[in-house]
Amino acid sequence: MTALTTLLSLGAVLLVLAALYRPFGDHMAHVYSTDRDGKVERGLYRVLGVAPRTEQTWPTYLRSVLAFSFVGMVVVYALQRTQQWLPWSLGLPAPSEHLSFNTAASFVGNTNWQSYSPEVTLGYTVQTAGLAVQNFVSAAVGMAVAVALVRGFAYRRSGTIGNFWVDLVRGFLRILLPVAAVAALALVVGGVVQNVAGFTDVTTLAGGTQSIPGGPVASQEAIKLLGTNGGGFYNANSAHPFENPTQWTNLLQILLMLVIPFCLPRTFGRMVGDHRQGYAIAGTMAALFTVSFVALVALESAAMGTAPQLAGAATEGKETRFGIVWTALFATTGTGTSTGAVNSMHDSYTALGGMLPMLNMMLGEVAPGGVGSGLYGMLVLAVVAVFVAGLLVGRTPEYLGKKIGPREIKLASLYILVTPTLVLAGTALSFAVPALRDSVEGTSIWNPGVHGMSEVLYAFTSAANNNGSAFAGITANTPWLNTALGVAILLGRFVPVVLVLALAGSLAQQDKVPTSAGTLPTHRPQFVGLLAGVVVILTALTYFPVLALGPLAEGLI
């Protein structure tokens, strides 16, 4: 029964994505390559003082990304710190400095890690003018960086990689905004709340009173998923019936998370002029995703222990209206993309089952990853895979006609160094420094022992990989975790962006080597297998020793 549902659910999702792959991927390619600007866009360019037909070199592109994100960060921080004076704040006070920093970093970094309970911390102004705006633009930034890298592969002897402001505006106006609007309407139809009613006090059946928070949920929900942000309006995220009421809204949410990351490979294929390259990348993403999903269902269904066996599966922390399979699919999607949205509490999974969402993130968020970041992450790993495999065929390795030399491999190597270093260093510091350890042990960890270690590891994995989901069972609203996770988010987001744009610049300058029988083919199943192998060995296996101290120690009894 479970096996059949697994097959059907996965099949349904893949079918819809396959149907959207070509039209939506082509649409995005058109958006980023057309010469025509819309009326609103021209107005925006005039306001921003941008010459839309002027392309930027990679340092200029990077400066634009960083400047834009820095301003966004300052705005979100300032909005929070001044919340008590802002209108529509529902009388909520300003969050602490470290929490405000964490939240600003988190939303600008497309992570949406939430150290707070949103409905009782942030009013409508901060949610809408701060967080919802960043939900849109941080996603657009990710897509812009990915497109810049794709241009690096597509351009020949070019000093430029596109114009950030044009990419940003178009991604926002032509991709994210229309799809999010339609999705929000669909979610409202599905029963998701959309109002500005504040808290409604009701008398429950049992006679008690309950304060039910309302708000513009559906509109934020749509972009939370489409932009792989993941920050829910409610603390319970998509497990909350106001955010995700029914089975079919659940399916819609899963699709919203996957649609851009899975269709961007088509955009990539179109822009480099070889669709087969896009299929290879999408195929690698889909293969890793499928294996992870099936493993999670298997582990959660075959759970040991009295309660799970009576229930037929490990149902703790899962919504009965979704069941094991749809919960597992949501969890795989939420962590396989860098969304971090949850419709169940990962903390309550079986020990080994809980390891899988962690592993999805540890892959570096590439299966299929975040909007934009998933594609550029996978392309960087493809560069490494091509380098090793290219040597195997006796040529200086080249990917899509671009030679992978010392500079390219230096940037790719640094890229794969960033997140493991952040995750491991952050976790180690939390336990190594006595003062921090007191805070982590005393306040943050709810489940002492091995599981507590997993909670901290999960937090840093989620932050450094810009996922934003939490293992639950951890109080992150402490000065140490707020600051450390905020820093991990910023470094985990922007150091790779620097490296990716430098790589784009370096690739764009090169001429293209024509393909011949001696060229390593990068579109065959052979390469898909190789790339998947490189992803697993170079990223996930790095964490094997620490996983042995957490989920593996807990799960292998």
């Binding site: 040597l391 195997l392 336990f431 042990e441 001429d511 060229t519 170079l538």
Partner: protein, 718 residues
């Protein structure tokens, strides 16, 4: 084609022939061992980050092994008891790992040493007769000039010296006057003397070679210490070896993988301190060493040195490692027709009788008139006639008429007055007309048809005519002289095509002939009536399309094209301008070798890739050996991950690092020999190599560590 340097009778340098490729004997190991230990100097180790980490780990565990007995070491690691000797044993294995890595490099370097030594002997200072004031116009052979005896070491660029028979050429130079036979065996290993003369493409002489006959005036073209031999010595010794771009890129990747695992090792104990038990430093170092890519880190430089060495064994000198790598990347090969694709001399292929002449008469006339002709063309006519069963006798029956540029014919005047003439159709027709017997129109048409038929098939027509005394002259027929394509070339070109390399034949022939030969040889394209400028233009065009071009050349007018090409292989017999312009020199002057150079370049890269893949794939098994072992004491459940059934945590860790060290030794022969390379398309090569080195790299350590554990568990305490 020779693959080893043979030096049969060279008096100046009788070095032992190098050992065959890939051989890895105890003698070599013994010779390399001192070097392997000398390389333990940290100042040298620092250049190889991966092995430097192992070095630091070895030093750290050594210090701990010494200190522990006094201060008391950790009795436990990760909650398991460890034997007292554990740290010391780990330290020993780590030192062995470093020594093995150094050994690989030393052995590779040792193979070039013998060649370098023999070359160095040719460099010893000799007396040179320098011309004090050379008067190029008035006294070109310097017979009247004053000669000063100087040491060859003092010769500067532009000095002029006189070298007479029996003397060594004091330095690299260009003959400005004279002709001489020169024994170049010290450089090329070829004992047959070669002719060197002023002007033209054979004017270069190399320092250290011996003039066997005559007297030449040489202008020195190199500064002391920068001669060809100096460069050769530096190359074969690997002293001037610089990392190639590709090697640098690989080193960066390996270094960054190492850094990741350093982070893993450094952060493990703080994390373990929370819910588990910390592991001992020795175990941590063992984990780190197992996970960093030591296999490829240890063998990387040996692979590079061995790759250069393989070229030297093919008698090719690459001026940089970069050129060898570029050879592997080449996508277009420019091959000169003459000497590369064809044997360079035309051979008689058939006799075409005309106008009802009996076949035997034509064959006899053509053959007897060729008996005195020593050229390959002449002998080939005689040979073909004999094969056809025509008795042509031995002696020359009559007076030989040699070929002259005026008549453009050669022939024979027989004692009975019969005149036989062979030559181009127009020359023979003119001769007949001159004798008063012009060709009949139908015969002329028949001859023209035969001549064109031969020309179209890529051959050269040789018309044979005869004039007996008192009789009118007659055309007997046409000899088809064919440009014979070397055997097996078509297959090699097909292989190159499969590898994605396009071959272009370059020839001075007319397009018609060129097309025919190109079709027969199986090249992809041809450039007919090519001038050096055309060649250069073709290279530029190919490069603009993103292709990498390789070519050979020997003349001064080839120099610009050689310099422009990504791989330019100059012939050793060529001018010094050509040798300067190219980035490789073929000592055997065999242009076909370009194909071998491409193969060696590819083999070098594949070997690097194969060992990198193997090294990284090894990690999977090592994780499964060490991770459960590290924390089994605290978490007995981790035993489930001990898929190899290793006996105890201590033996698991020890077995893993012993495997790690032994695999380096096991792979040294492969690193030196290079992995086997078959000319297939990239997809097939990738599939095969991924299976052998990727999947093999995952499986091999599981078996290896399991086997080593069977031995290690016998040691008390493990």
């Amino acid at each position: 084609m020779s693959t080893t340097l043979v030096r049969p009778t060279a008096p100046a340098a009788s070095a032992p022939a190098p050992t065959p490729q890939g051989a890895f004997t105890w003698g070599q190991v013994r010779a390399a061992l001192p070097g392997a230990f000398r390389k333990l100097d940290p100042r040298g180790m620092w250049r190889n980050p991966v092995m430097f980490i192992v070095w630091v780990g070895a030093a750290l565990t050594s210090v701990l092994a010494v200190v522990e007995p006094f201060v008391g070491g950790p009795a436990q690691s990760g909650g398991t008891d460890v034997p007292g000797s554990f740290t010391a044993v780990i330290a020993v294995v780590l030192w062995l790992t470093v020594v093995f890595a150094n050994l690989a490099e030393s052995v590779a370097e040792g193979r070039g040493k013998a060649q370098a030594d023999s070359l160095r002997r040719t460099r010893t200072a000799t007396a040179a007769h320098q011309v004090a004031t050379y008067d190029e116009v008035g006294d070109p052979d310097a017979t009247r000039a004053r000669l000063v005896e100087v040491s060859s070491a003092d010769l500067r660029l532009g000095d002029v010296v006189v070298v007479t028979a029996g003397e060594l050429v004091p330095g690299d130079g260009e003959i400005v006057h004279g002709i001489a036979s020169v024994d170049e065996s010290a450089i090329t290993g070829e004992s047959a003397p070669v002719i060197r003369e002023s002007g033209g493409d054979r004017s270069a002489v190399t320092g250290g070679t011996r003039v066997l006959s005559d007297r030449i005036v040489v202008r020195i073209t190199s500064q002391p210490g920068e001669t060809f031999v100096d460069r050769m010595i530096a190359l074969v010794e690997g002293a001037s070896r610089q990392k190639t771009p590709n090697e640098i890129a690989l080193s960066i990747l390996l270094a960054s993988l190492s850094i990741v695992f350093v982070v893993v090792a450094l952060t493990l104990n703080p994390i373990a301190s929370y819910a588990a038990a910390p592991v001992s430093v020795a175990v941590l170092v063992a984990l780190l060493v197992c996970l960093i890519p030591t296999t490829i880190g240890a063998l990387l430089s040996a692979i590079g040195i061995a790759g250069m060495d393989r070229l030297v064994q093919h008698n090719v000198l690459a001026m940089s490692g970069r050129a060898v790598e570029a050879a592997g990347d080449v996508t277009t090969l420019l091959l000169d027709k003459t000497g590369t694709i064809t044997y360079g001399n035309r051979q008689a292929a058939e006799f075409l009788a005309l106008g009802g002449t009996p076949q035997a008469e034509l064959v006899r006339a053509a053959a007897v008139s060729s008996l005195a002709d020593p050229t390959p063309e002449g002998t080939s006519i005689v040979d073909l006639a004999r094969r056809d069963g025509v008795d042509v006798g031995q002696g020359v029956p009559g007076e030989v008429v040699p070929f002259t540029a005026q008549t453009r014919m050669s022939g024979l005047d027989e004692p009975d007055g019969t005149q036989i003439r062979k030559g181009a159709g127009s020359a023979v027709t003119a001769w007949l007309e001159e004798g008063g017997t012009p060709l009949a129109d139908d015969l002329r048409a028949e001859m023209t048809a035969a001549v064109e038929h031969v020309a179209q098939s890529g051959g050269t027509p040789l018309v044979v005519a005869v004039r007996a005394p008192g009789q009118p002259g007659r055309v007997l027929g046409v000899v088809h002289l064919k440009d014979v394509v070397k055997e097996g070339l078509a297959q090699r070109f097909a292989e190159l095509r499969a590898m994605g390399i396009r071959t272009v034949m370059v020839t001075g022939d007319n397009p018609l002939t060129a097309r025919a030969i190109a079709a027969e040889a199986g090249v992809d394209d041809f450039l007919a009536e090519a001038t050096p400028e055309d060649k250069l233009a073709l290279i530029r065009k190919e490069q603009d399309g993103g292709h990498l071009v390789a070519m050979t050349g020997d003349g001064t007018n080839d120099a610009p094209a050689l310099a422009q090409a990504d791989v330019g292989m100059a012939m050793n017999s060529g001018t010094s301008a050509a040798k300067e312009a190219g980035n490789m020199v073929d000592l055997d002057s065999d242009p076909t070798k370009l194909i071998d150079v491409v193969r060696i370049g590819k083999q070098l890269l594949i070997t690097r890739g194969a060992l990198t893949t193997f090294s990284i794939a090894n990690d999977v098994a090592k994780y499964f050996a060490i991770i459960p072992a590290m924390f089994m004491g605290v978490f007995p459940g981790l035993q489930a991950l001990n898929v190899m059934g290793l006996s105890s945590p201590s033996s698991a860790v020890l077995s893993a690092i012993v495997f790690n060290a032994l695999v380096i030794v096991a792979l040294i022969p492969l690193a030196l020999r290079g992995v086997r390379y078959r000319p297939l398309d990239a997809s097939a090569i990738l599939g095969r190599n991924l299976l052998v080195y990727g999947v093999g790299g995952v499986v091999a350590p599981f078996v290896g560590i399991w086997l080593i554990d069977l031995v290690v568990r016998l040691i008390p305490g493990y």
